[in-house]
């Protein structure tokens, strides 16, 4: 049981060139896969394709196969996909349904849409709030939260659908450092707590260094490298691809160049 992309080629509706070319990736439950790449590499497209929103919701042409637990996304309806693979975008505010007076109701939005029995809805909302430790926010107005809090609420809303896989498209890019810390910690726990397979697209390689086990590098629509997080993030080619290495690596390299010997503390 995996989320697997095989030889995926995707072209947006009305676009001349393909945004993804020959992409193959596998995401396993309980594991975290990071994806890095320069701007315009197709990382957001990859997220939409993995979650099935492309082509189901936004159209376009998909060649190759995207299978979530064996079922192709092409043969699934959007609400079925929502229960198999959840997706979180960068902008905290556009993801809020805009119809809920409280965070609790906002998280209940998804389960309610499925028509689940009330007890089930309540159970899922409480579980999602607890998983991200945002119970104290339950009675707050979603439009009055900080960026980081809003992202967590959006994430809770996605978790309430109990998807087996999660795709996170640069979830901290629009957040301040505090928000980044908040969301980053939550993501780190996510795979362990919920058993979901998590695909995280991030520019912040520092963050990936702490949460990802595997990292794939996407450049110009194709996967150019995919390996354990430690070796990818230390790879010298990252800069050439237009990706910034984690600060620790950069400091070590700079120290080496300056002939300074660094003793690094073991980090958690």
């Amino acid at each position: 049981m995996t989320l697997a992309l095989r030889g995926v080629r995707y072209r947006y509706a009305g676009a001349a060139a393909a945004a993804l070319e020959g992409v193959s990736l596998t995401l396993e439950p309980g594991h975290v896969l990071g994806v890095v790449g320069p701007n315009g590499a197709g990382k957001s497209t990859l997220c939409l394709v993995a979650a099935g929103l492309a082509p189901a919701t936004i159209g376009g042409e998909l060649a190759g196969e995207v299978r979530i637990d064996g079922v192709t996304t092409a043969s699934s309806r959007p609400h079925e996909l929502a229960q198999r693979c959840g997706i979180l975008f960068q902008n905290p505010t556009t993801q809020l349904s805009g119809t809920s007076a409280t965070v609790w109701e906002e998280v209940a939005f998804g389960p309610r849409n499925l028509g689940l029995p009330l007890e089930e809805v309540v159970a899922r909302v409480d579980a999602a709030l607890d998983a991200l430790t945002i119970r104290p926010l339950a009675d707050r107005d979603p439009e009055r939260l900080s960026g980081g809090q809003a992202q967590l609420v959006a994430l809770a809303g996605v978790l309430a659908l109990r998807p087996a896989y999660l795709v996170l498209d640069e979830p901290t890019s629009q957040l301040d450092p505090q928000g980044t810390r908040l969301v980053g910690t939550a993501i780190g726990e996510l795979a362990r707590q919920t058993g979901a397979g998590v695909l995280v697209v991030e520019h912040k390689t520092d963050l990936l260094a702490t949460i990802a086990e595997q990292v794939a590098v996407l450049v110009a629509g194709s996967v150019v490298a995919s390996d354990e997080a430690a070796s990818i993030l230390a790879d010298a080619r990252l800069e050439a691809w237009g990706i910034e290495s984690p600060s620790r690596i950069r400091i070590e390299r700079a120290a080496r160049r300056a002939g300074v010997h660094l003793v690094s503390e073991v980090e958690a």
Binding site: R11, Y12, A13, G14, A15, A16, A17, T57, I58, G59, P78, G98
Partner: protein, 273 residues
């Protein structure tokens, strides 16, 4: 029921609240803060009509007026009953969208001039119908300056059409202007009975002076409202149509193409690789 359902895919459902909000906020700001004699409260309605069809447009217009009327804080006044007019504007916008009026048609040289001339001709024709309206030619109701006012409006709009077509090098400017003028005239025709029946022919705004003057000249309740409408609505709807036209041209192709009528708004795509 299924055809009706197809008019409202999720994308359209997400667009409508935003369009309604644009209607209300711009309409309120123009009326209250900027205090201009135009309404500018139909941009969202026409936008939805062009992108998603007449039903969606009508719903947007109708809902905008009702929600504005009952909105806490900025509501009140005369907006609610004109929901019918707003619905008609949305319907017409869907028609224009279906006919591809808002699709850019870049052109050059003689074709531009031809389009400008055709547009001006239609505007002049419409203005002359109003100018020559027997109600105003009636010797008991002789308001010479009103006829002159209509004439000036016609001339100004003709110049605007010519400018739009020639400056943007786009023949669609003419069709957008004509669509706006026609929508305005229809809006005036639908609004006049509502205004006369519900509000005794006035709206509490600055244009009531025009209504008073027309009545002084001998017009009855209905014709005075109609006269005021013919003055305000075509200009307002033409401006609105142009704003929608410019906005649509600046939105990314990908975003627009996925709407139900989106294909009629974007230029035909180049052959795919």
């Amino acid at each position: 029921m299924s055809w009706l359902s197809r008019q409202f895919p999720t994308r359209v459902i997400a667009l409508i609240p935003v369009a309604i909000a644009i209607n209300i906020v711009l309409g309120y700001t123009v009326q209250t803060v900027l205090k201009l004699p135009i309404y500018l409260d139909s941009i969202g309605t026409i936008l939805v009509g062009v992108l998603a069809g007449p039903i969606a447009g009508a719903v947007t217009g109708f809902a905008s007026n009702i929600i504005w009327q009952y909105a806490p804080g900025i509501g009140g006044g005369t907006i609610g009953p004109f929901a019918i007019t707003a619905a008609v504007i949305g319907l017409l916008a869907g028609l224009w969208g279906y006919l591809g009026v808002y699709r850019p048609r870049p052109a050059a040289g003689a074709r531009l001039w031809l389009a400008a001339l055709v547009g001006i001709a239609i505007i002049v024709l419409l203005a002359s119908r109003i100018y020559g309206n027997p109600a105003y030619a009636d010797p008991d109701f002789f308001v010479p300056w009103y006829s002159t006012a209509i004439l000036i409006v016609g001339i100004v709009m003709s110049i605007a059409v010519a400018a739009a077509v020639l400056l943007r090098r786009d023949t669609s400017g003419a069709w957008v202007a004509v669509a706006g003028a026609v929508t305005g005239i229809v809006a005036a025709l639908v609004s006049a009975p509502i205004s006369a029946y519900v509000f005794g022919g006035v709206t509490g705004g600055g244009t009531d002076v025009l209504v008073a003057a027309l009545r002084q000249g001998g017009a009855d309740v209905f014709n005075a409202s109609l006269g005021q409408g013919f003055f305000s609505d075509p200009i307002d709807k033409t401006i609105t149509s142009f704003v929608v036209f410019v906005v649509l041209a600046s939105l990314s192709r990908r975003v627009v193409a996925r709407f139900p009528l989106g294909e009629r708004v974007v230029t035909p795509e180049p052959a795919a690789a």
